[in-house]
Assembly symmetry: C2
Homo-oligomer: 615 residues x 2
């Protein structure tokens, strides 16, 4: 396309953005209009993408980090022939796949869900990393960012990661339209301010007028010929460009234009340009990456092994059996034990340093490309990435997250290092699976089982050693549980998971010695929970006592309560959990102080059984 045609295409994208938003009665046309020329030139001249084959291994990847600019994205899909005009006008309506913010679950050309700002670039870094270090099919990753979102720290985690990894297949385009939602950004049109920041993080920067299609064209060319560095194109643009009633004015964010018809006329009316997007180069599809039969580590009953150790060993074994497994570390691989994987499979190990948002985003990016990521750090610090996990669930992303050092059982380090809210966080995530093993063989099995699940999968591991209570051939289906003590005379059921399982067993032994038989259930699958077994235990023993190294809200206790959410009566349900703010102390002192050790469990059980007698 020549200059005039490119400019026309930009106008068409504006017109269609205005029309789609007007039809919806909501949306972000002004944020689309500022970036229209940037997208027009990309689509017409530089993107290599087969819309018929979104899975093509050499397709370029495009991420709309400013996820609210969907009118522009969908207008571009229309220009590329991927959707019809009729569908464009279903924007934001019930049942339409053209949602307010893009979601890959419904649209095959969307790489990752965006709309929480500052997430597209971090995920783009993950995709680019996969392209550069694992796939090498030559695809480029284009990320369209807003200027407002550069205030998010996650953008600078991404900038640091990309700069350090020399990701010259990554091109960020920043639509510097000067205006955020409620007013001007910190830096307005000061492109240099952004350039200094990106340069400091090792990026090549290009500053342009974002409405000059020739300069845009040359900037993309410069980006593609830059080696050894990621590139950011900082484009000076005007929000609402092309329509005087809104152009460069405050107060028009996230609204249809005041008069859409007039605006379309001012933009020169509708056009019917169709863009032939460049084909990607030929590339082989991903090879079969299964290399050998999975040989999980095996532990002997009675040994003492930390579940984090079993995780490290199992992940390493999984990595040997499956070439698509990748591991990501938040600079604590010696603690989480991913360092074992790093030694065995250095080419598939990614050090993300202390940047948990980027850790999860990189995992999401790799999952986009079909890899099977296991990202791990301390359970406590995964809270840092909560919003990324939330967005990953909207994407339908299949990632494995492993949080170590769960609970007060870590001991002396104190509350800042204790994951006490992680079960609540992960249970509330849509479509998630939450696993909490108590011994090494169980851990190994669950690490392998995670690989075959959909959605967000979370595994919680522990710092200290726990006794191996299961044999290496025992199976642990997700959604199941293990009943470890049971008799017809059971007067109560203790439901434990992780570090509280051995405590529950010790308590049961004490109680049994005193003539109080109690059932013990190991609820290693916290979500989904084994409702049937819990319901039967409630019926047969009349009382459930949950015990967890976690806050009382959102964890095992709530999971057990939910097993009765079909409306059946719950006989009695009492929860032991961490109800105070711990300090520093030895692990056994911590469990005791929280009342979740064998002594605490036995005392609570005794009280409940006696109460039952009185009643």
């Amino acid at each position: 396309m020549n200059t005039a045609e490119l400019a026309e295409l930009g106008q068409q994208l504006r017109v269609d953005s205005v029309r789609a938003s007007a039809a919806a009665g909501s949306g972000h046309p002004t944020s689309s209009m500022s970036a229209a020329d940037l997208v027009a030139v990309l689509l017409a001249h530089h993107l290599r993408y087969d819309f018929e084959r979104p899975e093509h291994p050499a397709n370029d990847r495009f991420v709309l980090s400013k996820g609210h600019a969907t009118p522009l994205l969908y207008a571009a899909y229309k220009a590329a022939g991927a959707i019809e005009d009729g569908e464009l006008l279903t924007f934001r309506k019930l049942g339409s796949r053209l949602e307010g913010h893009p979601t890959p679950r419904r649209l095959p050309w969307v790489e990752t869900a965006t709309g929480s700002l500052g997430q597209g670039l971090p995920v783009g870094v993950g995709i680019a990393l996969a392209g550069k270090r694992l796939e090498r099919t030559g695809y480029r990753v284009w990320v369209l960012c807003g200027d407002s979102e550069l205030a998010e720290g996650s953008v600078w985690e991404a900038a640091e990661h990309a700069g350090h990894e020399h990701l010259d297949n990554l091109i960020a385009i920043v639509d510097v339209n000067r205006l955020g939602q409620r007013g001007p950004t910190r830096h307005g049109h000061d492109l240099d301010a952004y350039a200094r920041r990106f340069q400091a993080f090792g990026w090549h920067t290009v500053e342009i007028d974002g409405h000059d299609v020739d300069k845009i064209d040359r900037a993309y060319g410069e980006a593609l010929s830059t080696a050894g560095q990621p590139v950011v194109i900082l484009a000076r643009t005007l929000k609402g460009k092309g329509v005087a009633a809104v152009e460069d004015l405050e107060g028009h964010h996230g609204k249809p234009l005041p008069d859409a018809e007039e605006a379309v006329a001012e933009l020169g009316g509708p056009r019917r340009l169709h863009v032939r997007v460049h084909e990607p180069p030929a590339a082989a599809a991903l090879r079969d990456l299964t290399t050998e039969v999975l040989q999980l580590p095996r532990y002997d009953k009675g040994d003492e092994v930390a579940t984090r150790d079993a995780f490290g060993a199992a992940l390493t074994a999984l990595g040997s059996a499956r070439g698509d497994v990748v591991a990501l570390d938040g600079e604590v691989g010696d603690s989480t034990r991913t360092e074992e994987f790093a030694k065995a499979h250095p080419d598939r190990f990614f050090e993300c340093y202390i940047a948990e948002q980027q850790l999860v985003a990189a995992a999401v990016g790799m999952a986009v490309r079909g890899w099977l990521p296991y990202a791990s750090t301390f359970a406590a610090f995964l809270t840092r990435a909560h919003d990324f996990v939330r967005m990953a669930s909207i994407s339908g992303s299949g990632i494995n997250l492993v949080g170590s050092h769960a609970g007060v059982a870590i001991g002396q380090d104190g509350p800042s290092q204790m994951g006490l809210e992680d079960l609540a966080m992960f249970r509330s995530v849509y479509g998630s699976t939450v696993l909490y093993p108590c011994d090494a063989n169980q851990t190994a099995r669950l690490v392998a089982a995670m690989a075959g699940l959909d959605g967000i999968r979370y595994l919680r591991t522990s710092r200290g050693k726990t006794p191996v209570i299961y044999g290496p051939d025992e199976e642990f289906p997700v959604g199941g549980s293990k009943t470890l003590r049971s008799s017809e005379e059971d007067r109560l059921t203790v439901v434990a998971a992780g570090v509280t399982v051995p405590e529950a067993l010790a308590a049961a032994d004490r109680l049994a010695a005193d003539g109080i038989p109690v059932r013990v259930i190991d609820l290693y699958s916290v979500k989904p929970a084994d409702a049937e077994t819990l319901q039967r235990a409630a019926e047969e023993t009349g009382c459930l006592l949950t015990v967890e190294d976690h806050r009382a809200e959102g964890g095992v206790g709530d999971a057990v309560a939910e097993a009765f959410a079909d409306g059946r009566p719950v006989p009695r349900l009492v929860r032991l959990a961490v109800r105070t703010m711990p300090g520093s102390a030895a692990p056994d002192e911590q469990l005791h102080a929280a009342g979740i050790d064998a002594v605490g469990i036995a005392a609570a059980a005794r009280l409940l059984v006696e109460e039952a007698v009185v009643r």
Copy 2:
């Protein structure tokens, strides 16, 4: 102190770090030893602090952002005469206030809990902001950072915030010891790499040898004489400095030295130096900031008002009545309605742009200084700050967080903007209060009530208008509820909150018309929940049906289940919640699709009542 004395003090801090960690059998002596000279010079020459009066308004503030370096912090306390040697050796033991990571709940000289890296500087920015813009007593804020934690995006949110606000009362000291937990950092001893980054964000940088006490002294002097910019001192140090067995070597993070006795000898043995820390200048204590009687907005029954509007108006009124109220915005003040506060009280309004971690950290910093912060953004985006909220609860920080645009009820914008996990997140936080009003008068009252609570307080507001159902003089005690429909014949109780309250009322009316009386409870206080009323409703009606615009896990349903956690039987408890992934649609379509509108509630209630008959 002269050069030799300062060096001696540094050695004493090392010796005491080694001794404390050896006594504990754990801890981070090597991370303390690298920064010992930096702290020695600060303590002896530059810090202005009255350890007898930690509340002194002109005291400098010291934040240990690398929170694991507590051996050094406590050794400094000892050198300053604040604690005795005997107490130093209780480090990390049960009952000791010298925890593995510092907590202000127990130690009066600690400003904020640290230990989750990358949080000290953001909170320090909040403290410095309060000093610069609100208090003007001339205190300086010193933040000791590690180099590893500079990978956290939150550090760059803080750097941006401080640079933009020209916080020349803020001095960051980075202990560039080259080694993280599991190995070298990205940039090793490349001080320039860090300097470029900080300069890009508008900071003055000073690079020094962090073991040369004279250079440290001069660097602090340079920092104090720098106007208009925050200053970062980048100090090249050696981890484990002074003990050959560990100095600058990998594999010694977070462990006592291999031979403490030998190490102490190598460091020249114990010393008994005592530092007279400079007194702060005289300053008046905070004046009484109550200016007038609180006049909350009043709404007429039957009007339609969004709770976010009522929040904005109530916060503005509270700001008029109390001069200690400050508001912080994440660049969505037009949506959350804090813009009303901004107009009325511009001097106490803080724009934090799209940086939710910094938003919460700044609030924590202001609370440290006795201000009463209300920080708000979309409920969905508060998940971004989960780890900051977690750490704030460890600090015992009294902050108010307000999340708008909760639930599917926002409509067309789609799932990325819908807060659907916020109740779960905030309920799991230790000592938190979680409020979810359904009408404007209730909102106004709760906004005022939050001010008087301890710990983390969360208020959830809604985007769309809801009918005003309460009069302006109705009271809403925290921990209470409102029973809106009740009779002796009630066959079921609907427990609703927020947007589902009007839906529940409409459902109750339909059911009543069909001869099925049901009770309706407005559970505006989700945590603490009104257990007594819920228990009575369960006894009297036999069945509870919870309905919430939130995921099924961790929200209202779980809160209601917890009201029976004392072991009493729960007759029947069924939950309506958002169980699928929403797309774009109108608000009423969303509520309907999720099955939480009047139709869905009535249908579920009918089913449950009929089931009860069958049984």
